[in-house]
Structure formats: structure tokens, C-alpha cells
Symmetry: C2
Subunit: 124 residues, 2 copies
């Protein structure tokens, strides 16, 4: 994996790791789509939309690896795989919603800041 430079404050290591997981393109979508119910792979893929199998698989593996998502295989034909949030994963929902809530509440403020920034740039 990522070696994470050791000159970094060691207390920040878990933070950066989490942000790396959570900051990946699809993880938040996946988690939010699993908030209310367990879902199968293709269900998840359809309900999210626009994600590749590869990316979705990778995202799920990473979440599973960190103990946030549980993967249960039913070896039938055709095979069936269900994904669900673990208890640990559920505890992340609060902090995560705090952040996403902020993003939504301040969407217009951020957008305004961006416009100002762009304008000041072309002025220069």
C-alpha cells in the first residue's frame, strides 16, 4: 500500500488513511447506499450508476478491508454476494453525515467563493 511518509505527524496517520479511503471516488456513495439495507453487487451498481465493475469492486474491497463493510457470499448458481455495513461501519455514518451535511449546507457559499476567485484571476 501507500507507505505514507514518516516525516508526517504519526497522530495523523489514521486520519489520512481514513480520508484516503473515504475520499476515493465512490466510497461515500457506496456507504450511503448501504445505510438502510444490505444490497447485492449489481443492485449496488445499478442504484449508484456510472460506476465500473472494477471501481466498485475495488471500493468494496477497501471498505471490507477496513472493516466497514461486510461481504457475504452465497455460493449458488448464479452466485449471490451481499454487502452490508458492519457495526463499525455504522458508527462512521454520524461523522460522515456531519461532513456531507456541511457540504450541502454550504454549497452555495463555496460556489460563490469560487466565482469570486475566478473573477479575481481574470482580473489579474
Amino acid at each position: 500500500m501507500k507507505p505514507l511518509p514518516q516525516h508526517e505527524d504519526p497522530r495523523c496517520l489514521p486520519v489520512r488513511r481514513l480520508l484516503q479511503t473515504v475520499g476515493s471516488k465512490w466510497s461515500v456513495l457506496v456507504v450511503s447506499h448501504l445505510e438502510n439495507e444490505a444490497k447485492r453487487f449489481s443492485e449496488l451498481k445499478r442504484s449508484i450508476g456510472g460506476v465500473t465493475q472494477k471501481s466498485l469492486t475495488a471500493t468494496l474491497r477497501e471498505l471490507e478491508r477496513d472493516g466497514l463493510v461486510d461481504r457475504s457470499v452465497t455460493p449458488s448458481i448464479p452466485p449471490r454476494v451481499d454487502y452490508a455495513l458492519t457495526p463499525l461501519g455504522r458508527t462512521l455514518l454520524g461523522p460522515l453525515n456531519a461532513l456531507t451535511g456541511w457540504a450541502i449546507e454550504n454549497e452555495t457559499a463555496v460556489a460563490a467563493a469560487r466565482e469570486r476567485f475566478e473573477k479575481d484571476n481574470e482580473a489579474a
Copy 2:
């Protein structure tokens, strides 16, 4: 910039943007180092440690662009530039701390999950 695929749920756009900003390698460090006091560029660079001028500049620009950080230039010789959190930036501290708090609290749980995952892998 990043075009962000339009098949994505539009409500998630601000979320992904925030995560992209906050998920970049140094932004959280920068914000946390600005929590208590405004700092000059080289102060910031020294106190964070291990960050390149380029990366630090890029991070600060992005934060400034989103209206989270204020950049004030004092045209003297030598030049002096101070960075501080904006009021908007300060409102992000709460949600951000919620997330970093989670990361620290659950560091061992995540680490344990990782070990289990690795072990199950070599078992297969």
C-alpha cells in the same frame, strides 16, 4: 478542472468536491495547523514538515478558492503572506474533527480488521 461525470447523482456533487479538497494529502494538516492562529507560508511549511512548496501552495490555493482560507499579502521586502481560516473555514472544523476523532478512536479497530483481512488472504 475535473469534469465530474454527469451520470452521478447531482446532490452528491458538492460532497464529492469537498471530499476531493479535504481528501487531498495535506489539506487537513493545513487546516488543523491554522485552527489556533494565522501563519505565514514558511511557518506553515516548517510546522507541518515534509510538504513541498509546490504542494503546500496548491493546497492553500484550493482552500482559498473554496473560501475556507484567507490569504493576505503584505507587499514588503521581504514579502509577507499570512494565511488564516475564514469564518466559513471555521465552520468546517466541527465536522472535520468529528471525522478525525472517529479515525483516532477507531484506529485499533481498523488496524485489527486489516490484519484479519490480510490473514484471510494468505489463507486463500
